[in-house]
Symmetry: C2
Subunit: 224 residues, 2 copies
């Protein structure tokens, strides 16, 4: 685990944190499994907690609702993508960096290139077909958008809080969501990567990238 990119050193992860993460994952996993089995609305917190081997009270210590537990995985993926943008080499073009960052959480799960696993598809269908879960997901997306916006801002030498960066990051996250939506709908399951590249390509084809200093585009960062 020697870190080639010289980023934050691997965390020693105290036992306590390990346990915490383990139970959190266990709860999330139990929630997803039960929801896929019985349907979201026929699963009670009591059931999830029992399946995960904890008390209902402990469930509440980790998640404030069952929707939060269900979307936990996906929220982690999106957050992964957001921070991955910062880990991209600085000399890589913006759109390549964005595409690779968005793909980062999927490449590790091998759903990017190969035909996606049925479980992954099932989980995504679960998440993307219920509007309550979609709403829950947005809450996480909103945080990640900030992360994206600032990463983009740093990369372009712009204010991450300005109009341009916020629009761009919002567009990227939204396009990602829609692409995943289409991805899990695809009747002959297809790998995610090409879809994502196509969608981002569509977005990037003409999205103007303002020069950091030399203002050919005339628009400043918009914030006053």
């Amino acid at each position: 685990m020697t870190n080639p990119s010289g980023q934050p050193a691997k965390k020693p992860l105290s036992l306590r944190e390990r346990n915490r993460i383990a139970t959190r994952d266990a709860i999330a996993e139990a929630a997803i499994q039960l929801a896929m089995l019985r349907g979201i609305h026929d699963v009670r917190i009591e059931d999830i907690a029992a399946e995960a081997g904890v008390s209902t009270r402990t469930f509440s210590n980790y998640f404030s609702s069952k929707y939060e537990a269900l979307t936990c995985r996906h929220a982690q993926r999106m957050h992964h993508a957001a921070v991955a943008l910062r880990d991209q080499p600085a000399d890589k073009p913006l759109w390549s960096a964005i595409a690779d960052a968005v793909l980062a959480p999927w490449q590790s799960s091998a759903a990017g290139l190969d035909t996606p696993s049925p479980e992954t598809l099932a989980e995504l269908r679960l998440l993307f077909c219920d509007s309550a879960l979609q709403g829950e997901i947005l809450k996480d997306v909103l945080n990640d958008r900030n992360e994206f916006a600032h990463a983009i801002g740093d990369r372009l030498g712009l204010d991450g809080r300005g109009l341009y960066c916020r629009l761009l990051s919002a567009a990227v996250t939204t396009v990602t969501q829609v692409t995943i939506d289409i991805f899990h709908e695809a009747d002959p399951p297809a790998p995610l990567l090409p879809l994502l590249r196509e969608a981002l390509g569509l977005l990037s084809s003409a999205f103007p990238i303002p020069a950091p200093e030399t203002g050919a585009a005339g628009k400043s960062e918009g914030k006053e």
Copy 2:
């Protein structure tokens, strides 16, 4: 019934429907007022119902949660925008039509051109500063995206369920959200219209418009 645009005739609105709409509006209004006054989380359904002059049970008949009641107004605005796209003249360029449609619900409330009213701003801040409400709003946005996508599809002669239309409608709704976000944050309150035109203009140059059938005349839609 004679309708210049040939769309659904003006509804006679039976008394029952009138009452229904009235109570629904009353509840939503009460919810917003109380929430602005005391803060969202210190308002109970009981309070809202009392303020609106109905029972708590009736509240539940109209809204399945207080968040839904709070976002009702905004949901109506977004829906208004979505259907307004269909009412735009067919010969208007796509991006102009989109901009006007998105502005439609605001022009009537005079917040588009003039300096926005403090109440409107306060309501928007209420809605956009709470992540739970943001999530609630997304549920409505998801429906409207379909509306947008199909309207765009009809306009361009494309399949409203295809990748392009879905991406475009998602981008439009998202950009709108972000713009409203910036709008209510603006310290010297500024009219919404210019902001929206700027944001959509930014987006419009990002999305090339494919030729519907005749491969010519293509893409010089980059209006500003």
